[in-house]
Symmetry: C4
Subunit: 128 residues, 4 copies
């Protein structure tokens, strides 16, 4: 199968609410980077997190097997360190094979959930 | 009328909640791929579903007549098999004429609905 | 000021809920195409609506003055005919000067609102 | 680090609700332009706001340090003047180094929040 997508993606809006309402883990407030690897090779993906007032943190290492999708919760990232809650961040995503990345947030701070989603920004071809 | 769009699209975020609140079918939790075919020819579209821990399933065959839109609910896909609920998936969409694809989810697990939508990722021109 | 954007855009997901909750008009369920014209010339814009089971309807004529934005509610379109409620549709948007188009829906069928938004698909350069 | 993104972006949908529900400032209705600057240079960014019935206002000057993200609330813009509430607007964003821009709205007019987000439209390469 052909590889679909780009090797560099960016999510500018990152924010994990500090509390949640409803049954865990489905209703826990979370942000997700959904990665699709249609190729026949494993994708070695790295996340680098950017903040407003400190140096970037990373790389976080994530493997996505061939012909698989992986929905990565930022809440679950542990190494090199957990993502701080209630803090503005952004994320640069780099892969050695083309992938597609979509960004979703479930916000359950109040009794009823709110959802957002957007394709991440595919940066290949626009790097200066 | 000229054909608008691309022949290959990807949705990286797929997840159908396993339960719903409110009157069916309008308020049933669902994910939709909205397809627009502005051309003068029928579009023969295939969906291939990707998962985190099993091989891809498909193709699902969907025809979109000339100068028509079709809003395909993933919940309604039956052949070769229904889409599992409460399971992460992604979707590759291929067509023999250019189309436009937009992705929407209605989540009615709680009393009040949540909505998300984004254009799918247009992959033509970025295939390696 | 330079013109920003494209001359052809598409929104594949269209659906105006048939009822609403809350004070009108702010909380009336509606879909909006937000148009930005940064150029020094008036933009003559046409909407063509596509359906699942009937021929397209249009053109709807909309002028956006130079250096202005216009947020067009599909609910307010009257000529050649109103947009049917609770009906799947899609929209092709054409302009004689480059514009930017973003799509938003407010769904107030239930007591608490749901919102979605995405950039429309910029089709120029991908027309076959 | 290489610079990712584009130098010109547009958000066509702007609207800050005039009231809110819930604890401030987290639950205050707001719109945000999330900017990511992955480069090694400070990004000098300007916002220009467009309206439906008056001339554009700006520039608003915003600096984003090297390797940082800044999530700019439109509610907080003060100079040359605050953004009017309950008013349709759009925003042109220009930077001297490539950046990535994502748009988010939290609407807390009702008891339960609604969220929307989309990548802004990257205009570089499509300027006429």
């Amino acid at each position: 199968m052909k590889a679909i997508g780009q090797k560099i993606w960016a999510i500018a809006e990152g924010y994990i609410p500090s509390y949640s309402t409803g049954p865990e883990p489905a209703m826990t407030s979370h942000e997700t980077a959904c990665i699709l690897n249609t190729s026949d090779e494993i994708a070695h993906v790295t996340f680098t997190l950017y903040f407003s007032d400190q140096d970037p943190i990373g790389p976080y290492l994530i493997d996505v097997p061939a012909r698989r999708t992986k929905h990565v919760r930022f809440n679950d990232l542990k190494d090199p360190q957990p993502v701080p809650l209630a803090t503005d961040y952004a994320c640069l995503i780099e892969s050695d094979v083309p992938i597609v990345v979509q960004h979703t947030r479930l916000d359950s701070r109040q009794a009823e959930n709110a959802l957002l989603s957007t394709m991440a920004f595919p940066a290949s071809g626009s790097i200066l």
